[in-house]
Amino acid sequence: MSVDLTQFIPSFLEESFEGLELMESSLLNLEQGDDETINSIFRAAHSIKGGAGTFGFNHVTEFTHLVETLLDEMRDGRRNIEADDVELLLESVDCMRLLIEAIRDERECDSEKIAENSKRLEEALAASGSVMSEALTINADDAPTDNSSDIARWQIKFIPEHHLVQTGNDPLLLFNALADLGKVSLEANTKELPTLNDIDAEELYLSWQLTLHSNASEADIREVFEWVEDECELIITKEVQDQPLEAVTEAVTVVNTLEGSSQNEQADLTPPIEAHFAEPTPKNNTDKPVSKSKNDLGSIRVGVDKVDSLINLVGELVITQSMLSELGSDFDLSKVERLNAGLEQLLQNTKELQESVMRIRMLPISFAFNRFPRLVHDLSKKTGKEIELILKGEQTELDKTVMEQIGDPLVHLVRNAVDHGIEPAQVRLAHGKPEKGTIVLDAYHQGGSIVIEISDDGGGIDRQAVFNKALEKGLVDEKTTLTDSQVFDLLFEPGFSTAKEVSDISGRGVGMDVVKKNIQSLGGRIQVESEQGKGSTFRVNLPLTLAILDGQLVRVGKEVYIIPLITIVESLQPQKELINRVSGDMLLYRLREDNVPVIPIYQLFNIPCEFEHIESCLLVVVEADGQKIGLMVDDLLAQQQVVIKSLNDNYQQVQGVSGATILGDGSVAMILDVAGIIEMALTKAQINQQHQSSVQSQITRSISAGVNA
């Protein structure tokens, strides 16, 4: 019997990481926590140690054993919970994570760091006088069979206590196990058996004398009786020479229950009855080839309820399908109504199924939030600022892919809040604020998107400082009047940093632009609100999922395109008097106060169209990055949800197109990338700009300010 353990390693790794996360967050809460907090930390360490041992990662077991011992002392109250110990444990959690990551990535890990940490753990344990002598069983112990030793004859006297069977032990099975070690013969002693009236069916009155021919050691034999040794008298003696079996002259009772394995070998009519057991079966060594467990493919742990609801829905779908096919097998016009009802049901089923499938990809945002208590704890130590982190809306669900990619930007924003947001304690006190700063991470759903807010009660953003910096960088000129939000948007310009001294926490202002880029690449946006002296709020808006999109289908010539509904401001029939032609080539459409640049899709994509003139076209006004443009299309078609397919898989990224989808008729349609289209128009305008009048360049600048802000 051989089982390939490698198949369980991914699941071991996954739960170890979860355990580490739990350890970390609980350690950070230890001060406020109760007994259960330390218990849960202990349990997590304990599970990791157990799993690591089982799957043969002995270095993890060894290291975790130290951690566990320390935790055990805390749990038992033998050790007070000191800040230093918590710090040491947090660092140990990091080490465990390194060790486990190394296993996952199949590489070596920084053993020096681990060794250093082990040493400190040992010192901490030594200081408390804890005895570290407890032997650590590392290897999954293989039965220690000493093959060199000769077959010996063992005499085993087994006198169980009467209540033995009440713990679920069964002597017969023990004898069977013994038989795995060698050849067993036995006789039962029935002397203790009371008269029938006095027999208690739940008691055991027999005792046995067993003879074992085996090369096993006494320890091997004792191991078989390990679980009952306190409830029996067990005398094991070894007879040096393997002598021929002798008749044992005692009162014996045939044990009939030795299921078919008992057989009378001796022709002799006199007892003893020998029970022959199977020889130990040779170990099956045909191990399966060790399949390398690669974890590249991400996996999702899905709640059973979500799977169940899927199964239910599929069940309904099957019913609808069979109903429809039955209807179709002999269809006539009288059944149109039923057909319609069936189709309606199909639509409903499909919709629900889609939602259910999407839900599978949704995870609570706590997965992304979890790392922040530790981060803030560390940063707070580093900066000497006392900071409380409040997490809200942790159960808000978000698509797994979005979650994975939003982590880093969030880290940056939180670091930024600690570093630039929260003031040093003296400053806070001087302003009549509590010494301890507060950072709040909040997440909630709003329409079809999720909003994540990072707010601090720090000094707020110095509007003037930002403006001056922008002046210095030549991003604005003195005469420009900007709204607050426009000023704050400057923070996301590449290379922009207002910190007077560069710290190693938020770095050199590289990042905020990257943060914005990352968020945009997820189809999201970021806004800042800030009040000087009171604090700032960074608000990140993200789509719930990257896989599905509400789209407006439009037609240009023979082509159908999809415009994400979220980007559409309005669609309108252009009125002649509101169209302005500037610098020959550029069209502007007056939309109330705004002059919206008009971009004919047919020109941009070099395709034939039905109407070349804006007067006969429809205008879809879309907005991205605060910039509005009007897309010229021939016709507006339906609005529908579309599944986004990448063009990248088999082709490459296409400018102005974020992906493709498959329409109801099976044809493919391109999904427009509004931000990309603005950029394209801009590039085009910039090329023209070189030979065009200043009017044009002004427009370009205004678009450019919109795009880059």
Binding site: F605, K645, L647, N650, A660
Partner: protein
């Protein structure tokens, strides 16, 4: 069109009963096709399917030989007109015009692309020793696409390197 059926129609040396999937041969098998009147071939193991020409959806601002994308069982597959790409013959679309969909696995991903050709002709068995290197005289097909030449009777079949075929050149817009 089914490759299997094609294979059954093709007599293979030393094998006379060609039923089911047992067209046992040595060497590699290639699917041959026509671009104008020239014969080309690709490794048959890369052939995902052969389908008739259908109007694909254009990709904005793509080179002219990229005809667009189609939906092949939920996968978005770009369509390349090999005749236009190699500048052989004229790109007319008629009844025999077919698309050979090829799939190649590279280190970390698989890529599926359809290629428009004038007609699919045969399955060809080629021993490695029969493949001759292509002479480096300039033709329409760039040298790096060529895997080699094979003589079939009077004709010469050009073996194309599918991996190179699958590379989409980065092209700039506008």
């Amino acid at each position: 069109m089914d490759i299997q059926m094609l294979a059954e129609d093709v007599p293979v040396e030393g094998e006379f009963s060609l039923e089911g999937i047992d067209f046992i041969t040595s060497g590699d098998q290639y699917l041959t096709f026509l671009l104008a009147d020239e014969q080309y071939a690709v490794d048959i193991l890369c052939v995902e399917e052969i389908r008739s020409w259908g109007n694909p959806t254009r990709i904005p601002n793509s080179p002219c030989y990229i005809k667009g994308v189609i939906n092949m069982r939920g996968i978005i597959v770009p369509i390349v007109d090999l005749r236009m790409k190699f500048n052989i013959g004229s790109a007319i679309y008629c009844e025999t015009t077919v698309v050979i969909v090829l799939t190649v696995e590279t280190e970390n991903k698989t890529r599926t692309i359809g290629f428009v050709v004038d007609a699919v002709s045969d399955v060809l068995n080629v021993e490695a020793s029969d493949i001759k290197s292509a002479p480096a005289f300039g033709g329409c097909v760039p040298q790096n696409y060529l895997q080699g030449l094979v003589n079939v009777g009077e004709n010469v079949v050009t073996l194309l390197n599918v991996k190179v075929l699958q590379e989409i050149e980065k092209h700039q817009l506008i």
